[in-house]
Structures are given as C-alpha cells and as structure tokens.
C-alpha cells in the first residue's frame, strides 16, 4: 500500500511554483541596499560593542567587581527578554500566505516547517553567540586566562551562548502548542530576568556581593568552560532533534494563529505601528476572559456642577484606568523595569554611559506613559464615542493625558530614586525632577498612541539614500519626548541637577504638554 503523503507534491515544488511567479525579482540595487544596511549595521554594532569587548584584555583592577556583575546581569536579562519576545510572537511561524495555502493541506508538514525551524535555530544561535561573547567580556577581567588563550575563550563563549540560547528558544518551540507550557516558560524567563537585574543592582550597592560573584568567575577554569560549551552544544543538538521530531505533529491551528500574528507583528514593526503592535499583543490576552462588569464611575455632584464638561471627559478617559486595573502583569513589569537605568549605570562605562542611562530613562518613561493610553490607541481615529458623550476633543484629550502623566511620574520618580540609591546619581532633587518631567513624557506617549496606522500602499518609496516619510512621523513622537524631558535628560547624562534644572523642567513640561493638547485637539 502506498501512503498518500508519499505521492503528494513536494514542498520544494510548491515553493518553486510560488517563487517563480513573484511579481518582482531582486535587482542589483536591492542587493546594494541590503549590503549597505549590513555594512552600516556592522559599523554601528562594532562601535557599540567595542567598549564591552575591550574589557577582555583589561586587568582586573580596570573594571570594578560591581561593573562586571552588572554587565553579566544585563546580558542574562537581555537573553531572557529576547526569549520572551520570541515566545510571544511564535517562535515557530511561517509566512501568513503559507499558513493559508500550505498548512491545511496534505503537504508533508515536516517539509513545510523545516525552513522556518532552521531560520529560528540559526537566528537563535547567532544571537546566543553574541550574548555569550558579551557575557565573557563582562566577566573577562576576572577569568583566569592568559592573553594567548583569548581567542579560545571567545570561541568557547560563542559556542556556549549559541548552544544554551538555541536550546532555550527551541524549548519555546516545543512549548508553543500548549498555552500552559507557554505561560510557565514566560514566567521562568521573567524570574531569571528579574533575579539577574536584582543581582546587578544589589552588586553595585553591596560590594561584598559583587566580590563574591567575581570570585566565582575566577574559579571558572578553561576545562570547566569547555565542559559547559560541550553541554550547551549537546543541549542545542538535543533540542533541534526534538523539535524536528515534533514538526509533523505541530498543531495546524496553533501554527496558523501564531503565523498570522507574527505576520501582523512584522508589518507593524516595519512601520513602527504602535497601535497595531498593541492590538497584536492584546488580541490573545482578552479573548476567552470573563471580566466582571462594573458600573461606570460618577464624579461627585459638586465637581460635575462646577465643571459640566469634566464629567463626560472623565467618563471617556476612565476606560484606560479600568483596563490598567485589569492588567496587573504590565504594571509589575513596569515596576521591575525601574531597576533598568540603575543596571545600565552599573554595567556601562565610557563616553556613552551618560547618554545610555538618559536614553533608558526616556524609554522607560515613554513605555510607562503608553500603558495609560491603550483605549486612546483604539479609538483615536473614531470620534463616535466622543460625540455620543458630547465631549469636545480638547477636554477628551486632556482627561486622557492624566493617566499617562501619572504613570510616567511614578516610573520616573522610582527609577531616579533607585539610581540615587545605587550611587549612580547624587543629590535629593532627582525624585522631584522626575515628577515634573512626567507631563513632557506624557505628551510623547499621547502622540505615539494617536499616530495613525500607516497604509503600506501609501507609504512612498523606500530607497537606500532617503528616509521613508513614515519614519519621520514616528520619530517626531520620540523627539517630542526628548524635548519635553530635555532638562532632566541633560542632568541625568551629566549626573548633576540643581534648582535651575527643576525650574526649567517644570516650565518645559507645562509648555510641551499644554502645547500638544492645544494643537492636537484642534
């Protein structure tokens, strides 16, 4: 008896059929653009990585123990974060068109999925190799090695990092069909990340802890590292084998949903489309959940009588408050992320240190603010509800600015306090400075939330030598954040703040948020 699968058309034939009918083949300028991008990326990456890798040849005294511990913690946290990111959007996914036409068919599923699995494995191995070498660079000054062994250590670190990270990502592939297993893996990665961040920050505060960790580094012999690399390689090979064995049984329903989501994510990320990214992230979250409906809150009568416009605007804005209350996990992540600037401050040295801390502070403030603008994202382009409630655009936007401003204020205050406690900043003014900088960050968060989705067919040509117009509109939101928080960011970069900084920040925050509300609501 001949099995049906054996008679079916091969996946290679199908791919050839589809590939040969592509509208446009790659021309020389496409290859030029790609080569240009690769070279540019390599130059930028080498500039960023030069400082950490310079520690490999540094003497132990050149890098304090706290810095080595914080650096290693940062690498571990980054690996855990990458794993969660990969797991959120797959990690095994095929092109949406393939999911529509090849998945629910008699084609050999192993053959359909082999290429995406290979891509996932290669990307994981590359990322893991870089992470492994970075971890080595962080611990480098404390490793017992002679200079002539440096390349061997690098090779071992790359193999170890690639092996362990590939095994982790493929474990996520194995867990992909089960919602429960996915949740467990995400929780484990979050725990590892939180522990690493805490260790990194604590190492800066308590030098004994940092010394204990670096003493551990000194006991890692060349032989131990070789064994670890071999174990990592074996783990990766085992994970690859298990994943390949699982391919024919990979559930079509899960793969179809994940592939469609990954396709949307790629599209949204390509155009920095935050509303679509949020929708992708939240779509699965709310489906299947039963929420306790509660009556819409009412303002006290005295307030309503005093400001008749306030009540409906407040009603409209309340959706964001309620959503936030129903999602404690992002809040917990936000609280944990307040440690990030301190960890960066502990791990990074050199001329880019101040700028990196300031960038982390701004990114955190914007992320906190956007958490309070989700409902705004959803109905930014639909004024129906606003008209229904009889709220004018200005009042609605002002009411909706309150939560992003509060969240940004809370995040900045805590993050700056942690920076002070960790010894990265000195003075008592920082928490207050965080409070007054929040409106500036809130204006940027509101603009990010209100940015209209980009229609790919209307975006204009992308060329290697010109900035796509859509990128400029997205960059303006970040620029608004930089302008709104400029005195704070400048002070963080310099490590000094005084009364003048406070006054300047207060004035700028009021101007930026007020100006944004005035112009955006017109």
């Amino acid at each position: 008896m001949t099995s049906p699968a054996a008679e079916a058309t091969s996946v290679a034939t199908i791919r050839s059929f589809v590939g040969s009918r592509q509208v446009r083949r790659r021309a020389w300028y496409d290859w030029y653009a790609m080569g240009f991008a690769v070279v540019l990326f390599a130059i930028l990456a080498s500039d960023v990585l030069a400082e950490p890798f310079s520690r490999l040849t540094a003497a132990p005294g050149a890098s304090p123990p706290a810095q080595a511990v914080a650096g290693a913690a940062l690498v571990v946290a980054a690996a855990a974060g990458l794993l969660v990111l990969a797991q959120t959007f797959g990690p095994l996914a095929i092109a949406p068109a393939d999911a529509s036409w090849l998945l629910l068919s008699p084609l050999n599923r192993r053959a359909v999925l082999r290429r995406p699995l290979t891509t996932t494995s290669v990307l994981a191995a590359l990322a893991g190799a870089v992470l492994g070498m970075l971890a080595l660079a962080m611990a480098g000054p404390y490793l017992p090695r002679a200079h002539h062994e440096l390349s061997a250590w690098l090779v071992l670190a790359a193999i170890g990092g690639a092996g362990f990270f590939t095994a982790a990502v493929l474990t996520a592939v194995l867990a992909q069909p089960s919602r429960r297993q996915r949740g467990r893996l995400r929780a484990a990665a979050a725990t590892v990340s939180a522990a690493a961040v805490l260790l990194g920050v604590a190492g800066r505060r308590w030098s004994g802890l940092a010394h204990a960790v670096t003493a551990g580094f000194e006991h890692i012999s060349y032989l131990t590292a070789s064994v670890l690399a071999a174990v990592a390689l074996a783990a990766a090979c085992g994970a690859v084998l298990m994943a390949r064995r699982m391919l024919p049984l990979f559930p079509a329903g899960v793969l179809r949903d994940d592939s469609v989501r990954a396709g949307r994510t790629r599209l949204a990320a390509s155009f920095l489309n935050v509303p679509l990214l949020t929708w992708v992230a939240e779509d699965n979250r709310w489906r299947g959940q039963l929420l306790a409906s509660r009556p819409w809150p009412r303002l006290p009568n005295a307030l309503t009588l005093a400001w008749p416009r306030l009540s409906p605007a407040f009603t409209l804005a309340w959706a964001d408050w309620r959503r936030l209350g129903r999602r404690p996990a992002p809040l917990a992540v936000l609280v944990a992320s307040t440690l990030a600037p301190a960890l960066v401050a502990a791990a990074i040295t050199g001329h880019a240190r101040g700028l990196t801390i300031a960038a982390t502070v701004l990114a955190g403030a914007l992320a906190a603010g956007t958490q309070g603008a989700a409902a705004l994202r959803r109905d930014a382009n639909d004024p129906t509800l606003r008209r229904l409630l009889g709220v004018d655009a200005g009042a609605a936007l002002a009411a909706r600015a309150a939560l992003p401003a509060l969240l940004s204020a809370a995040w900045l205050t805590v993050a700056l306090t942690v920076l002070v406690l960790a010894g990265a900043l000195s003075g008592r003014l920082w928490p207050a400075l965080g409070l007054v900088a929040a409106p500036g960050a809130a204006a940027a968060a509101l603009r990010i939330a209100r940015a209209e989705p980009i229609d790919p067919s209307q975006r204009g040509p992308d060329t290697p030598i010109s900035t796509p117009p859509w990128l400029a509109t997205r960059a303006i939101s970040a620029l608004l954040g930089v302008i709104g928080c400029f005195p704070l960011l400048k002070a963080v970069r310099a490590g000094r703040a005084d009364g003048g900084t406070f006054v300047a920040q207060l004035a700028l925050s009021v101007i930026v948020l007020g100006g944004y509300l005035f112009f955006a609501a017109r």
Binding site: M1, T2, S3, P4, A5, E7, A8, T9, T13, I14, F17, V18, R21, Q22, V23, R24, P96, A97, A99, S100, W101, L102, L104, S105, P106, L107, N108, R109, P248, P251, A252, G253, R256, V260, G263, R287, G288, Q289, L290
Partner: protein
C-alpha cells in the same frame, strides 16, 4: 456542466488508488456527542449532539456569537473541545495529510500570495492536493462558474471583497474533499450568485457524495442549497432540523 476530474487525467504520474481518509467508514460523516466548546473560562456551546450523514448539507444558524464558527473550527480540528466526543469520517480530527485531503474549510479570508494571480492560486490548490482523485472542478471551469473570467489574471489584492470571497470558495472546490466546512459563505456575495453557489453545492458537491456543513445567516441560501437547518441558541443546539426563518 459540472464535471468530475479523474485522477488519471490530472495527477502527475498518479499511481493506483489508495484508501482515503474515512473511505471505509459506513457511519455518518460527522458524529458529535455531548460536546462542550469554549475559550478559556468562557463556554460557548455545551451538550452539543449532532449527526451529519454523507452527502448531506447542513446549515448551522444562530445569532452572532452563538458559536457557529467555533463549531466549524472544532470540526476541522483547529480548536479542541473541552468535553464530549467528536468523530469526523470515522475518527477524531487527526490534523494529518489524510485528514486535510478529506476535509476542506473556508473560514476567514486567506492571506494571498502577492505574486500569484487568481488562476495561479487555484492551480496552487490543485498542486498542493495532487494527485487529484474525486469530484472537483478544474481551474478554468471554476473561474467561469465563479464569474472571475475577466479577473483571472489579476492578483487577488486587486479584486473586490465579493470577488475575493468567490475566489476563496472556488479554491475549496478546486480540490476533492469529502467534508466541506463553510463559515458564512454568503458574505459579500450578490443575491444571484448566492443562488448559483447553493445550486453548485447541492447538485455538484453533495450529489457526488460530499458533505457540507456551513454557518449561515441567509435562510434563502440555506433553502436553495436544500440544507437541513440546525439552530444554536443559548449555548446549545436549540432546534435540530429547524424549518423556519434563519436568525
């Protein structure tokens, strides 16, 4: 005229016949007993009992959110039931090559390949399901039947929503199957073509032994297809074999 496409004409080097999924099964095409369906904590359908015979057309009706699409998704094995038993062509949905050779589903609009035309999408379906054995229509005839002659060489992204719906339905009939699951096939279709589609399902697909289960809100379409109507209400099968207006 509707034609049968023999394997010997279309299959590349088609070998001798092999048993198809559920071919030797004498029991009904679909048997559902006490099935419960839901998402997380939310139960959509409970205690669903349903039997569909070979060659039968069944229209599942119900208000929005009644669970029609979820039921179809479960029959295709894309969604797992919380409780109860489900048999499709003699065994639980297996999500393997033989199952997808026997079962076709048209639910959400598919994502189209940007470089393929209407005709090429249909050819792709036949290629992925070759060797072709059993009743189905060749690409040219489908293009004519589904009114896509003028747009046969256009890419689907250039079609209207109704034409895309026609194409996705045509794709389901471009390959043989024994069970066809359609989620609101009447969407975006004009009244005249709905009647033509109903006739095609009744006189072409079902008459050749295929079973159709479709979720629909169009009573006339269901009647024209000669469908037995099942009403889903309040999370249960409220009226099996209903013969009234469709919600």
């Amino acid at each position: 005229m509707l034609t049968c496409t023999p394997a010997s004409k279309t299959g590349p080097g088609a070998p001798a016949a092999h048993p198809r999924y559920g071919e030797d099964v004498t029991e009904p095409t679909v048997v559902v007993c006490g099935m419960r369906l839901g998402y997380g904590q939310f139960v959509v359908l409970d205690e669903v009992d349903l039997t569909v015979a070979e060659g039968e057309i069944v229209a599942v009706t119900g208000v929005n959110g009644a669970g029609k699409s979820t039921l179809l998704s479960c029959l295709a094995g894309l969604h797992r039931q919380l409780a109860g038993t489900l048999t499709v062509l003699g065994s639980p949905p297996r999500d393997d090559a033989a199952f997808w050779r026997a079962v076709a589903i048209v639910a959400d609009l598919p994502t189209w390949y940007p470089g393929l035309t209407v005709r090429e999408h249909l050819e792709l379906v036949r290629l992925t399901h070759s060797p072709i054995r059993g009743w189905c229509l060749p690409a040219d005839e489908l293009i004519e039947t589904f009114g896509l002659v003028a747009r046969a060489d256009a890419v689907p992204l250039d079609l209207s929503s109704g034409q895309r719906q026609r194409l996705s339905l045509a794709a389901a009939l471009a390959r043989p199957s024994r069970l066809l699951l359609l989620d609101e096939p009447e969407q975006s279709l004009d009244a005249q073509f709905r009647q033509e589609l109903a006739g095609l399902l009744r006189e072409g697909y079902a008459a050749n032994g295929g079973t159709v289960i479709m979720a629909t809100h169009d009573a006339d379409f269901a009647t024209a297809a000669g469908a037995r109507r099942i009403l889903l209400a309040e999370g249960r099968v409220a009226a099996p074999g209903l013969a009234g207006p469709t919600p």
